[in-house]
Structure formats: C-alpha cells, structure tokens
C-alpha cells in the first residue's frame, strides 16, 4: 500500500458538501446517463424472502448483523491488553510522525473514527424509548461527560466547565485518564499528551452529531493527580448562530 504512511486525518468532511464532480461509484443516487437504477427486489430475492427457511441466510455464522449489539452484559475488557494496544498505537504513530504536533494529530485522527462510531452505538444502546437526540450544545456536552464517558471508561468525567474568557469554549476534565494511565511523558516531549486520542474520540462524536468542534488535550497536573487532563473543546462559530436561532 502506497498510502500506508498517509496520515489519518480527523476528517472534517462532514462539514463540507457534495460537489457536482463527485459521482457515485456504487450505483446509489441518480445518474442521469443511466436513469433510475434503484436496488429492487429480484424474483430470486422475493422467493427467498418469502420462504420460511431463514437458516441459509448467510454463509457467515458470526456475522455482525446476526448479533445483538444492544446487550449490555460482558462489555468489559482487560485494561492490560488495552494499555498494550494503546502503547503500540502511540509507537506506530510516533514512528511515522515528524514531530510532537504531528504525533498528536495522528492520535487524534485514530480516535476520531472511534468517536464517530461509538456515539451511534451508545445512542442505540440507550434505547429509543427513554432517550432523545442531542440538539443543544450543553446537552450534548453533558451526554459526553456522563453517559458517553461512562460507556467507554466505566466512570463519568470529573468536571465540565465553560470557559470564562472565550465564547464557545468548554472544558472536560478527567483526573485519571484511563488510556494514558501508565504513560509518563519524557521531558524532551514537552507538551505532548497521549490523551490526544481521547480528544479525537470526543471530536469525532461531536462532529458526527453536527456540533463541529476542535478538541485538544492538555496536561494540567494537580497534587495527587499527576495525569489530570483537560480536554478543551472549541466549537465552530456557526453553532452559536444555530443555537440562537432556535431558542
């Protein structure tokens, strides 16, 4: 693969819109040169769907589509294996990166994809009867700070604050960030914080919910909590306009 070393960016593509030059490669959408081409029920599919035998549906017995992902039991994994995996991820990013900033961006990009997926999964697990879509900035922040954090780390984050000075800036604080629990940053790496991965998860979750934001992780140690990390969330200016229009 030639693009093996290509950086995985926190794709802000969700903010852009389609252009006329982007042609669907997969046959979905309307192609004027072909006409309507929608996915229709073929005679075979029809007989198949109507038949009562459902055992031959797939040749893959472990298909994700047959599994119950809402099940809340046995969702814990070993912290050690997670720590080793994360250690390798940091190493991998490190070996490809050109500098500290680059390393953080790469970690952020890896987390971004996790966040995009996780927020949908958590919303699904919450169930539709009791829960709602988050449409307000404060509400989604509370959701991330509470439910989301708990689902990933088994505990809620420690603090959620609004910046005094800057509009559209919020801070989530975690005293003991789980992923980087065992990592101490050497002095020559300066301001590096491996929780950039976590920041990426938050950013991915917010972006895909259309709360476009930039999230960065900063170490702010206090006595007793040497790893205390503040996630600084800076929302796009367009959000406050949207919010003010609706209220």
């Amino acid at each position: 693969m030639s693009n093996d070393n290509d950086i995985i960016l926190s794709s802000a593509t969700s903010m852009s819109t389609l252009t006329i030059n982007e042609v669907s490669k997969d046959g979905f959408g309307y192609n004027p040169s072909v006409g309507p081409q929608s996915n229709i029920i073929t005679p075979e599919a029809s007989t198949f769907l109507l038949s009562s035998k459902k055992s031959i549906i797939t040749n893959n017995p472990n298909s994700i589509y047959d599994k119950n992902i809402i099940n809340k039991k046995n969702l814990e994994i070993s912290l050690s294996s997670l720590a080793f995996l994360f250690c390798e991820m940091v190493n991998w990013c490190h070996s490809n990166s050109k500098g500290i900033q680059d390393l953080e961006t790469r970690l952020n990009g890896l987390g971004y994809q996790v966040g995009q997926r996780y927020i949908e999964l958590i919303k699904l697990r919450e169930g539709f009867k009791t829960n709602k879509r988050e449409v307000k900035i404060v509400e989604i922040l509370q959701f991330i700070h509470g439910t989301f954090w708990k689902a990933i780390f088994g505990k809620t984050a420690n603090e959620l604050e609004k910046s005094q000075d800057v509009l559209n800036e919020y801070m989530i604080t975690d005293n003991v960030p789980l992923m980087s629990k065992f990592i101490s940053i050497p002095k020559e790496y300066g301001e590096l914080n491996c929780s950039a991965f976590m920041a990426g998860i938050i950013e991915g979750a917010l972006d895909s919910s259309a709360f476009f934001a930039n999230v960065t992780a900063h170490s702010v140690p206090i006595t007793g909590y040497p790893l205390r990390t503040v996630f600084l969330i800076k929302f796009d200016d367009s959000l406050s306009i949207r919010e003010s229009l609706r209220s």
Binding site: S14, T17, I41, T58, I70, L121, E134, S208
Partner: protein, 162 residues
C-alpha cells in the same frame, strides 16, 4: 398495496444506500388494480415516471429534515413531506445520518397512524443494522453501504413490517 422507496443519506447529503420494495402481503383485497398476476411479491410498483423522480423527492425533503432536525430531539421525524400522493417519512440518527422512506399512499388513508408507527419501528431496526454496519472497521462514515448482507437484512425487515 403500497410501494416503498428507502434511502439512507449520509452527512454530506450523499446517498449511502437505496432500495425499492412493496408490501409482501398477498393482496387479496379488492384494490388489486395495479398488481398483475405475473408480478413478483415484494417488487415495487412505482410507475416509470415516478420511479425516475424518487431520488429527487427524497433529496428535496432533506431541506425540511435539516430544518426540523434542530427543533425536535426525536429520532423519528415522522411524516415530513408529501408529493403528489407520495408520502415521505424520515428518521435521523445521532450521527446525522438520515433514513428517508417515500411511499405511495394507496389504500392506507384510513389508518395512517398505524402506518407511521410501523414505519417508526422499521426505522429503528434499520438504525440497528446501520450501527452494525458502522462497527465494521473497513467501513467509514459516509461510504456507500454495499454489503449484500446488509441489503438482505433490510429486505427482511421490509418483509417483516410491510
């Protein structure tokens, strides 16, 4: 017997998946004007010119969805639009992916409430499938969903509910 057109729209208003189907129930009722003996159960029976504009109807409803997206915190947006007898129902996930279902309203005017509820259930199950699809590490947000398994599962849901 109603025909349905379901499409999944990504965050950039790009189509991710579409399918046409109709009610699988054998239409024993008297309103069997459109169904001929040779028809395949489950195949959508949109008129050709209607079929041509289905993606456009879905697309035009996106503006309305975008508008109501921020005023309600429901996942199911319900009936958002109608276009010459075609009704458009929509559902939006937390990750801003929209499910749009267009269907012709033949013979179901009396119990539309029941229909809406059915569609809501259908959407919730499609959302479940979508999240499963999203859990695939080789699938990225906003990619078209080409998994044949996803396809067959959606069609099974269609058979189950309609």
């Amino acid at each position: 017997m109603s025909s349905y057109y379901l499409t999944i729209i990504g965050t950039r208003d790009n189509p991710l998946y579409e399918v046409e189907f109709s009610s699988f129930k054998p239409n024993s009722s008297s309103t069997s004007s459109s169904a001929s003996a040779s028809s395949i159960p489950g195949r959508a029976q949109f008129a050709p010119d209607v079929r041509e504009i289905l993606p456009f109807i879905a697309n035009s409803s996106l503006d309305i969805i975008d508008d109501s997206q921020w005023s309600t915190s429901n996942f199911n947006l319900g009936r958002v639009d109608s276009f010459y007898g075609l009704v458009v129902n929509a559902f939006i996930t937390q990750g801003n992916v929209k499910f749009v279902l267009c269907y012709d309203n033949v013979g179901s005017g009396t119990n539309s409430k029941y229909d809406d509820n059915l569609i809501r259930q259908f959407f919730i199950d499609v959302n479940d499938l979508y999240v499963k699809c999203l859990l695939n590490p080789f699938y990225r947000v906003n990619d078209a969903i080409v998994s044949p398994e996803f396809d067959i599962k959606v069609k099974l849901l269609a058979r189950k509910y309609f």
